[in-house]
Symmetry: C2
Subunit: 423 residues, 2 copies
């Protein structure tokens, strides 16, 4: 007998029929001899409907009260799911964040889980019940309702799995696993059977929206085996787990594309100590995250500095940089938001050399100019002009031997969309 946590996203609980389907899956797992915990998101569209009400008459709603309103989405789903399980002859008990209890800090709308008092859940399981838990929400030490931020239901599921020392955490969504790259960009994309936590973290942060990044961090920290599966098929999905020897033999596991960055260049920065600290310190003060940074070799005591930020932060960034440029007496500021970041990810890079070189050669072979480069132990990212984005992904996918040999299984499931609406 295993203890399994199943998490169902918004589209999987989008209407009463689909909730009936979730109940069937949970009951099937119980009948197979397992203890089952179900974590659910709000019905698709519901969180946005509630946020629209919250913002109807003010641009700055009280954040404590916003969480009170938005948390109702998941509350509705747990009740309906428990009712559906009951209607199918099973036994279920719903838990809100404050009933579980999932204790968080008091950062409304993006609270972090501090600890989980899992006694009530274990009691329900021992009683033969399926525990149905509201994702996305918690309660702070003072009893205020909190929410964990978009995609927070993944985090709830993995945190519950960690607290219960579950044998597996299954994330059900509307795609049937993690792919080597976006199938909409590259038809040769393959579903991965296994991927390591670290690779998944890089892929998640690079905009592959299958899992919330925080949930992967918690799964890695507590060694929770994480399955990404479709709630509409019986495909086994992708296992996200600890890296093993076999994984290291694969040089590159996936190719990621991120179109949400913008490039900022500052010309003629004085080549003196502390210049970069002044610029990036000022950006940090305004909570702007900087991604790639490239500094050219100095010529005549001046250098050019290029970096990327999230496109949404571009206006704020320009404001900050204008101020600093005046202070440090640098030159012109150039901005380019017509850029894309393409990345290759793989734990095999740790033990194999020449991966970055092969990436640059591949891009160069397609006539693609690289605007900036950054690397981690298991990732190489290149900033390129947007118009080459899809070409770059396909070329790299092929160059690193990721292309499917046969038509991908995904084509027969009829599920092509990779984006999930989550909360």
């Amino acid at each position: 007998m295993a203890l399994i946590v199943q998490k169902y996203g918004g589209t999987s609980v989008g209407d009463p029929d689909r909730i009936g389907n979730v109940a069937r899956r949970a009951l099937a797992a119980q009948k197979a001899g397992h203890q089952v915990v179900v974590v659910v998101s709000a019905m698709s569209g519901e969180t946005n409907r509630l946020l629209k009400l919250v913002n109807a008459r003010t641009e700055r709603p009280n954040e404590r009260e916003q969480d009170v309103v938005v948390a109702t989405g998941e509350q509705v789903t747990i009740g309906l799911t428990a009712i559906a399980i009951g209607a199918q002859g099973g036994q279920a008990r719903s838990f809100m964040g404050h009933q579980c209890r999932i204790v968080t800090d008091s950062t409304f709308s993006k609270a972090r889980i501090k600890h989980i008092d899992s006694g009530g859940i274990l009691e329900a399981l021992a009683d033969g019940q399926i525990a149905v838990i509201a994702g996305f929400q918690g309660v702070d030490e003072q009893g205020n309702i909190t929410t964990l931020g978009r995609g927070g239901s993944d985090t709830t599921a993995v945190a519950i799995a960690a607290a219960l020392k579950a044998d597996a955490c299954e994330i059900y969504t509307d795609v049937d696993g993690v792919y080597t790259t976006d199938p909409n960009v590259c038809p040769a994309a393959r579903k991965l059977d296994r991927v390591s936590y670290e690779e998944m973290l890089e892929l998640a942060s690079l905009g592959a929206k299958v899992l919330q990044i925080r949930s992967v961090e918690i799964a890695m920290k507590y060694q929770v085996p994480l399955w990404v599966k479709s709630s509409f098929t019986d495909d086994p999905g992708t296992l996200v787990c600890q890296e093993d020897k076999a994984m290291e033999d694969i040089l590159v596991s996936g190719v990621a594309l991120d179109r949400n960055e913008a490039k900022v260049s500052i010309r003629d920065v004085p080549d003196a100590p502390g210049m970069a600290a002044k610029i990036f310190g000022a950006l940090d003060e305004r909570a702007i995250s900087v991604d790639l940074i490239v500094q050219n070799p100095a010529v005549k005591g001046k250098t050019d500095l290029t970096f990327t930020v999230a496109r949404a932060d571009l206006l704020k960034t320009q404001d900050v940089v204008k101020g600093v440029v005046k202070t440090i007496k640098a030159g012109a500021i150039e901005v380019d938001d017509d850029v894309a970041k393409v990345s290759i990810v793989g734990v095999g890079m740790r033990t194999h050399s020449g991966v970055a070189a092969r990436m640059f050669q591949t891009l160069s072979g397609e006539g693609i100019n690289i605007l900036a480069i950054s690397t981690s132990e298991i990732r190489v990212s290149c900033l390129i002009p947007t118009r080459y984005a899809e070409l770059a992904v396909r070329a790299l996918h092929s160059a690193f031997g990721l292309d499917a040999k046969v038509a991908p299984a995904r084509a027969s499931t009829g599920s092509k969309a990779r984006k999930t609406s989550k909360a």
Copy 2:
């Protein structure tokens, strides 16, 4: 400085603009120097939408889980109301039933309030905040969410007012007070300035749907002055309060009409001790409430027995009565659901005689046959054929001097509907 509890029903919080209006009223009361507690219902239509989801795939949803779903309606409204108060420069804090805490028994979907731990509310008030409380919901000793049944928000408001020893409880609705009778039936209906708790109890139980009956019982028990007001006008409304000398001078305060009863007659019941006990005992076992009862004088050892039940219970009643009739060897069963109950209510009846006689004369003068009669200390009810219902109401309204001398104020407010959607 007074402590005021204001309760707003579903139509008063039906959209963000109306919630803005509620915030304005609450802030105005606070600016006038009062401590203000606001109790709100779900936005109109919301409770029905949630019940539809609950019943989408099963006829017998788990009641605990139904309450989990349905309680979200009020949760949304408290958040939005607190946000609206904040947006208008005020300070507010929302409270769910489990945060207040409103502790109830565990009778899901019709729980009864056991006690209220008002510490959190008093703290918020002392802090200069407006406390915004979810109506209709509570929490049992085990931490399960409960709801109080339709119209339960009135009960929440009055119970909170009693617990806080509030100076007044104002029930805001879409009519501007309690009327002498239904203005849709009798254009001469007048708004009452004052009505006693006991009269209100009789009127509430007779289908005047302005207040939930349980809320009036609590108000009477704890002597909470209760105002019924419109949230759309500045009319002072109707005060429901302890009866005083002046009230006793008025013979009849209101005329009520109830179309939801059905008449059952059993012919040739043996005139022996215990027959009525057998019949009504059997009905009681099936939780069927009997209202009027008439037994004719016995002729040749047999009598006819007539009583009324709620129309919704008629089929169940026939089943029960058929069984009993066989056992006690009575005769035919006759059923008539084409009946209406018209009642006159007034504390003045206690000290004045001849009221019932005048009622019978008035009906007789209009050629209306009385099918059954029942009385209480402050009420006389007559069962009549449905087709005479409106005529009877108008005739009694006029006969007991209730007709407005001038056109009723209500006509100028444009609000004619008397029925409120409540939860």
